[in-house]
């Protein structure tokens, strides 16, 4: 038995040793903060002073904060719009680009360019795009006689506007992943489909989508997690306004920490969001069979 263990150590020892740096980095900068955040949810913390245990006080406060329902609804609306628009656009674009016979490289690069724009530059560009007087969007819809809109300055339009911006900025990266997945689909399948007389749409429905369904499922869950944590767009573009119309759960968490200087409340809301996303992801992975597919 001991010999077997010794052999095992010899066999895996070096490999485990190589894992140590990564484990340390993850432990120190990922898992330790997550654990601390959970503890923070039950503490009052003023930087520079010792933490004090306060039980459920932070959680009760945030549950009674009138801003929370608004932030949750806004987040759900943002996620909904991003999924409706942002989920399908990369798939359609990826399939379309892969169908292009000439100049595919150019289009691949073109759709990825927004991902390469630094965040701050992106937001400055979009502030001008949304400008009610001179903005590109209003100039464009003006061609069709549509009156100028307020975009991010309107309570009703702010979330669709931010979703539009986020989709534009991020769809290229997702599309590239789909394209990569599409290259693994056997050409023989397409040839067979064509011989059977399948048109473009039939090929997509019967060959392409089933072949990349694993990637679609995975990216859907990743996108869900990412969009639920939307912070940058409302933080930079609107600071949650107008009148809290773009206040999201993450922005409220940020405000608890860095505006109200109530880190315990931020920890509580962050932890609740984490648990909600964990549950949602678990359910989705279970139901979609994603874990099974990956395991196989």
């Amino acid at each position: 038995m001991e010999q077997a263990l010794g052999k095992g150590r010899g066999k895996y020892g070096m490999g485990l040793l190589f894992l140590v740096p990564a484990l340390l980095v993850f432990g120190l900068f990922q898992w330790y903060p997550i654990v601390q955040n959970f503890l923070l949810a039950f503490q009052s913390y003023v930087p520079g002073f010792d933490k004090e245990w306060v039980g459920l006080k932070n959680i009760l406060y945030i549950l009674h904060d009138p801003r929370l329902p608004k932030a949750i609804l806004n987040t759900l609306e943002f996620v909904g719009i991003c999924l409706v628009v942002g989920f399908f656009v990369p798939i359609v674009v990826a399939i379309t680009v892969m169908e292009i016979r000439r100049g595919r490289g150019f289009f691949r690069l073109a759709i990825y360019i927004p991902n390469m724009i630094p965040g701050i530059a992106l937001y400055i560009i979009w502030r001008w795009v949304f400008n009610p007087d001179f903005g590109l969007l209003n100039q464009f819809i003006g061609i069709f006689g549509v009156p100028h809109q307020q975009w991010v300055l309107s309570s009703r339009q702010v979330l669709p506007s931010l979703s539009l911006m986020a989709t534009w900025a991020g769809f290229g990266g997702t599309a590239v992943l789909y394209m990569s997945s599409l290259t693994t689909v056997s050409a023989e399948l397409y040839e067979a489909a064509e011989l059977e007389g399948a048109g473009f749409l039939q090929r997509v429905r019967s060959v392409t989508l089933p072949a990349i369904s694993g990637t679609i499922n995975l990216l859907l869950v990743l996108q869900l997690i990412a969009t639920f944590q939307v912070l940058q767009e409302p933080f930079v573009m609107t600071a949650g306004g107008p009148n809290n119309a773009s206040l999201t759960v993450m922005l409220l968490t940020f405000n608890y920490a860095f505006e109200d200087v109530e880190f315990g409340r931020a920890g509580a809301l962050g932890s609740l969001l984490f648990l909600a996303l964990l549950g949602l992801s678990y359910l989705y992975v279970k139901r979609s069979g994603l874990a099974k597919a990956k395991g196989a």
Partner: protein, 456 residues
Amino acid sequence: MKRVLFIIMAACIALGVYAAPVELKVPIPANTPENKYRIDAKMAQIKRFEAANPGIHCVAVNFEYDNTGQFLVMQAAKQAPDVMSVWATEAQMLVAKKWVVPLEDYIKTWDKTAWYNKDAFLPFVVGGIRYGVPDQNYIKHVLYNKQMFAAKGVPAPKLNWTWADFTNAMVKTTDKAQGVAGFAPMGKGAESGWGFTDFIYMAGGEVEQVRNGKTYAVFDSPEAVTAAQFFKDLRWKYDAIPANWANGWGDVYNVFGSKQAAMVLDADNGRAIAINSLKMDPANIGLALMPKGPGSKGRQAGVLGGTFLVTNGLAKSKEVRDAAWKWIIFERWDDAGLADLQAQIKDARANKQFRAQFQYSPLLPNAPYVQKERAILVENPDAAVAWGDPAFLSALPGTAHIEPPVAAQDVYGKYLNNVVQVLFSEKDADAAAIMKDANKRFQAEVLDPLNAAKDQ
């Protein structure tokens, strides 16, 4: 034998404690090439301080208070200085977090306390106790673009101008076809609520009222509603604010500096953005008092604030707190302060910029120090600006209005900010109903719990 050893050890420890100098962390400007002269001046001051106080050893810390979170991180790491220059608007938050200590006992016995304007301490008085010593003060006022006024035939504002004059100037200088607004208020973040309170005060209203030791929200008054209606009219009746009205503090000075707005409100340093970043000629910027609001209660009023010197609440021992007080008053209002001002001008000149800050002293206007300060600014027109003429400067203190005494940041950021955004974004907004609702919520959600806590 044991007793002898004990006595020797105790004596050694006692001597050691006596001999060890008190370590005091003092702030110096951020370590950037642009701050070279200011850092040199501060290091020289530290040397003089240590020479004058042999029992104190100073540790220089690169630190400038801001709201980016640096202060929070440094507090958490116990690396923030023991003495800090902080904003008046932070007083209640800093006191509530115990990040500053009361200075009342020190201030009472300081011989230069009498030099101050009696209102100068007010922004940092919490619960009747003074927690800070005024460093620089400001009283908010109007900045206007002289060329834009002249081009539209708008006369320079008189000292006693009114909202009607303000509106006239605003409407005449607005040119939406060119993207020019007559006035650029702040419309995003807590600063938008802060800027809105100026108009509430001008209309004769208040944000809070203290009765029998308890605080009540009163910005549903007819005067405050008048201010709200005026704000709504800026957008929907006169259309005289930028189309993209959701501007934060820095944004409005960018708008002003790029000639996209003829007027903005400023406290002391917003104009530096227009001048140093947008290269606006300081000579093209005019100063005006806040215009008088309408009705019998209308008045000229602007928020009184500024920077205050405080002792960090993390300085636990009496020795460090005493040392911190010695630093606060060291060379205060004497030639060293003037040398620091000259260093700032030198910095600005070296960087081809202007030391553009509005120099409003917390001292009485006739104090010799104030005159010397102004003389230095006047002597360096290539790199410094001496703002305001004598009539403006002598009338300005009369317009000072302190900030809400309780939960100021809450009312700015969570309530009045939203009021402003509704007024600017919804054409059919009912100003009175919005103010009533915000007032009611602020009372119930913030002030009532605080009032109740006082009863316990």
